[in-house]
């Protein structure tokens, strides 16, 4: 029975299809583990009874043509799930029950998956440590003092702790890739426009993308196949022919040119990260790929650009949380008073900080100096990638500047928290796909990740490169169930 827990997603799927195990067995085990793991605080909402019922329903009339047949999955609480509370880990939505389903989760249920529950995250996906959630911070299964990363901290933690066989998150500046890197799991952010944003609580519209967090690259490919679709309810959804990512997965990357951007070698980069990167290059060479030095000259401007664009869009996207139509409301003596009190009490400090930044950079007199400037620099950053990709097929970088840090270590200094995203943010600004795979441990024994960045819509290529590297890296990391009661 405990072997079920050690099966990865693809194995689970084939075992279920071969009738070696039932959906109910799988679902029950994951529920049992989840119930014993409340200490990690990964879940905002549990739907265990309903999940068991659905698993029995599946077993009684199984459809083995589905890609996720009877597979239980817990999802980040940024995806609207019909009739199931969706909070974005915020007080202002703490009682919100959507009457509709996000396209990405609908795709999963249509392929046979079953909802286990909604996973904790940074409030409105704003954060890099899952310390800003209204429901309290998430504990990393790696070590009780560590953050799991963010904003998809609950997702990464639940996956690494084996409370769910696979999961999904959202990535605006690194919120899938960074927690994946911190927890030794695989996190993929697809090309902007690949996964529909319909039904996902919006943070920064031009940067948000949904993506899978999984135990290995093959699982990631399968999840992407299910999640990615053209959606005419999202004007930024792209209609392109999506390959069968998992079927076409290959370890043959001979001759692929992998770029190493010199500007990613930041000042004060630790020797461990340097070594990790160097190892990565060697793994690739072993696979027959070619290493090419490249330059992405505007890299250092990516973070400040991001911290203008994302808050600006967020300040506008979060204006709808006003206590009028849904969510939390505090009474006020008149309309303005009601708005001010509701939003002041309903939003946490980081969210308020970002709304203020966003409002400021769009305000009269400052728009040109900040927002417009940032949009121009964004163009330069994107052009850097376009130029580089003329000579290479993919880019290799570290995923994060360090391994997971301690809870509370950075929560008082916003800028130092923001610097976590230094390697991931340029990818969102350029709208490109990026995947983080576990590639080693630091001297404390905590996971470190490497990131592969690809051309727009070239997920197959980066999945293949990741797949080959994963094989060579052979990352083994045992998470003991130390938190279980």
């Amino acid at each position: 029975m405990s072997d079920i827990i050690n099966l990865n997603l693809s194995e689970l799927v084939s075992n279920i299809k071969d009738k070696k195990i039932s959906s109910n067995e799988v679902t029950s085990i994951y529920i049992e583990r989840s119930k014993k793991s409340k200490h990690l605080n990964s879940y905002n909402e549990e739907t265990f009874d309903e999940a068991l019922r659905k698993s029995k329903e599946f077993d009684s009339k199984p459809d083995f043509n589905k890609k996720l047949p009877g597979i239980p999955v817990a999802v980040k609480d940024m995806f609207c799930t019909k009739n199931i509370k969706t909070t974005a880990s915020s007080k202002i939505l703490n009682n919100f029950v959507p009457t509709y389903e996000s396209t990405v989760t609908k795709n999963m249920w249509d392929e046979g998956a079953i909802l286990l529950g909604k996973l904790n995250c940074d409030e409105f996906a704003m954060g890099s440590s899952n310390e800003t959630s209204y429901f309290g911070n998430v504990i990393s299964p790696i070590d009780k003092n560590l953050v799991p990363g963010g904003s998809s901290g609950g997702s990464a933690s639940a996956l690494a702790a084996k409370l769910t066989p696979t999961t999904i998150g959202t990535d605006t500046g690194g919120s899938i890739r960074q927690p994946a890197s911190f927890t030794g799991t695989v996190g993929l952010k697809p090309t902007y426009g690949s996964c529909s944003r319909y039904g996902i609580v919006a943070f920064a519209s031009s940067l948000d993308q949904a993506g899978p967090i999984t135990r290995n690259v093959k699982d990631s490919a399968l999840m992407l196949e299910v999640m990615s679709s053209f959606d005419n309810k999202d004007s930024t959804s792209i209609d392109f022919k999506r390959p069968s990512y998992s079927k076409d997965l290959s370890k043959n990357i001979k001759g692929k040119k992998i770029g190493i951007p010199k500007e990613y070698r930041v000042d004060g980069m630790s020797a461990e990260i340097e070594k990790l990167w160097e190892n990565g290059k060697n793994y690739l060479k072993n696979c027959g790929a070619k290493i090419v030095d490249i330059s992405l000259p505007h890299t250092k401007f990516a973070l400040p650009t991001y911290y203008i664009v994302a808050p600006a869009e967020a300040s506008s996207n979060l204006a709808r949380y006003d206590g009028v139509k849904y969510g939390f409301r505090t009474e006020g003596k008149n309309l303005i008073d009601m708005y001010e009190k509701t939003r002041s009490e309903g939003f946490g400090d980081e969210v308020k900080r970002r709304i203020m930044i966003g409002t400021y950079v769009l305000s009269s007199g400052y728009y040109d100096a900040y927002y417009l400037k940032a949009q121009k620099v964004r163009r330069l950053i994107k052009n850097d990638f376009i130029d580089a990709f003329k000579k290479i097929d993919a880019i290799l970088t570290p995923s994060t500047p360090s391994s997971a840090f301690k809870i509370g270590e950075k929560s008082n200094d916003p800028v130092s928290m923001y610097l976590n995203d230094i390697f991931t943010v340029p990818v969102n600004l350029a709208g490109l796909p990026g995947i983080s795979i576990p590639a080693g441990l630091d001297k404390k024994g905590y996971p470190l990740g490497l990131q592969i960045i690809g051309k727009a819509f070239d997920e197959q290529n980066i999945l293949n490169i990741a797949y080959s590297m994963e094989d060579k890296i052979n990352f083994k990391f045992d998470v003991k169930d130390w938190w279980m009661k």
Partner: protein, 490 residues
């Protein structure tokens, strides 16, 4: 308050000085479409509260806008009708502010790059024609409705209107009087109704305007500071608010004061404008391109295809009526300015004399519609039947006078005049032999008058005509009576 000058120009006299009034209008016209601009709920007027609201309209988490192509075409059509430049690329921006009837906390509008650029309309004023410049036309979402007078402690919000497509048409500050404002609105309405892009129904709110007013001494070139009067929903109120506001501003200037640029509301009960927002509360809309949308782009071929679908517009139709049918500009104007009237007219003249048709429509028919408070589309007398009536006059079956009687009998609804004439035996007597007999009788019975007439009292001719008509029960053909009488009284 001194009198408004009775000059050709609309001027305000004060202490011997003359002030000119500069007016610019921002007209909000609801686009005629089935569904809203960025969502798939209905735009129909008059539905029960909140029954035409989609999840997108109510700004639920994760909802996204998807643009309605038909609204784009309607805007392009309107732009063509305004002789305006159509911009092949335009951007949708978010206009950010908080209000109860604005669920998103922003309105999707167009700021620096609107879909339509500069254009113009020509007004027919009593003093001649005048061209009014159009600055731009852009598409934007309408807001919901806040209802303040049902609950004493609260405001109720109905989002049915939230998200309906609006075309905002901004004029250049070329208007100079309430009369011009009236003609401008009528012209815009007429063009849009012809195009089918907006029904122009001000009572239902499909057409509203914000009015910008400033004053300056006659002859001065520099513009004065303007004030905006928001959301005026009838032409009458527009005119009243302009008059009041212009006088208010002149009063201030004459006292040596300065005009504060501000937004004002027109109080229809007190007939005055009052300040709506102080400078501190002035909105900073923080416009930025909506990241949920992309730039709107189309090529010239797309615009040309739409141009081909455009029907003959009022100005063209008017020119054609004047040239082809020899109507006076005044008549032509009346017949074209309303789309339904022009349709009715063109239907009638298919088979009837143009001059008579014009007269009967602008005369008797309009009087009837006015009396019954009906639009021409609801006319109890159809174009076909009016045409029949006119033909009966033309072919001499009835006289013009009798026709008026028949018309009245038709006005209760849908009667063919041919039947009415038959039933009521109203056919006029046009047989010369019968008329001669009749007239000889009149002459025989009024010999003294005949003597007087022949001795010089020419006015008595009318007496004989009158007698002939009386004896014939009003049915004698007046023209023939005249001819025969002339002969007999020589």
């Amino acid at each position: 308050m001194d009198e408004v000058s009775k000059d050709k120009d609309y001027l305000i006299n004060r202490n011997g000085k003359k002030y000119e009034v500069i007016i610019g209008l921002e007209v909000h016209a609801q686009v005629q479409s089935e569904s809203k601009l960025f969502s798939t709920s209905s735009t129909k007027f008059g539905a029960e509260a909140n029954t035409q609201v989609s999840l997108v309209d109510a700004a639920f988490p994760g909802m996204l806008p998807v643009i309605n192509e038909f609204c784009i075409k309607q805007a392009i059509k309107t732009g063509i009708g305004l002789n305006a430049k159509i911009n092949n690329k335009s951007i949708f921006d978010r206009k950010n502010y908080f209000y109860a009837d604005l669920p998103q906390g922003y309105q999707i509008s167009q700021y620096k790059d609107p879909i339509v650029g500069e254009g113009s309309v020509v007004l027919d004023l009593t003093s001649g024609s005048k061209t009014i410049g159009i600055e731009r036309l852009h598409l934007e979402q309408d807001a919901g409705k806040s209802i303040h007078d049902i609950d004493p402690k609260n405001t109720l919000v109905d989002l049915n209107r939230s998200g309906v497509a609006l075309m905002e048409i901004v004029s250049k500050p070329d208007l100079r009087s309430p009369e011009e404002v009236n003609e401008y609105i009528k012209k815009l309405r007429s063009i849009m109704r012809y195009l089918g892009t907006c029904d122009g129904n001000m009572q239902e709110g499909s057409l509203r305007a914000d009015v910008n007013v400033s004053v300056r001494k006659q002859g001065e070139e520099k513009y004065g500071t303007r004030c905006e009067i928001k959301n005026v929903n009838s032409i009458k109120f527009m005119q009243m608010s302009i008059e009041h506001e212009a006088n208010r501003q002149v009063d201030i200037l004459e006292e040596g004061g300065k005009i504060d640029q501000e937004t004002r509301l027109f109080d229809t009960k007190k007939n005055e404008t009052r300040s709506m927002r102080s400078k501190e509360d002035a909105h900073d809309y923080r416009y930025f391109p909506d990241p949920d949308l992309l730039p709107l782009e189309f090529d010239n071929a797309y615009v040309e295809k739409i141009r081909k679908e455009i029907p003959e517009l009022p100005d063209q139709k008017k020119s054609r009526f004047i040239e082809k049918f020899n109507l006076s500009p005044y008549e032509a104007n009346i017949l074209v300015s309303d789309l339904d009237t022009s349709k009715y007219f063109e239907e009638v003249i298919k088979n009837s004399d143009v001059k008579l048709s014009a007269n009967w429509i602008t005369g008797e028919l309009f009087a009837l519609l006015n009396e019954k408070n009906l639009e021409i589309a609801e006319s109890p007398i159809s174009a076909k039947n009016l045409s029949n009536l006119i033909n009966l006059i033309k072919d001499g079956t009835i006289s013009g006078k009798i026709a008026k009687t028949v018309f009245e009998l038709m006005s209760d609804g849908e009667k063919n005049p041919i039947d009415v004439v038959k039933e009521k035996d109203l056919k006029q007597e046009s047989d010369p032999k019968e008329l001669e007999k009749l007239i000889e009788k009149v002459i025989k019975e009024n010999q003294d008058k005949v003597k007087e007439y022949k001795s010089g009292k020419e006015k008595l001719f009318g007496f004989f005509v009158g007698q002939a008509m009386k004896v014939s029960g009003g049915k004698a053909n007046p023209q023939l009576v005249n001819e025969i009488l002339k002969k007999k009284l020589k």
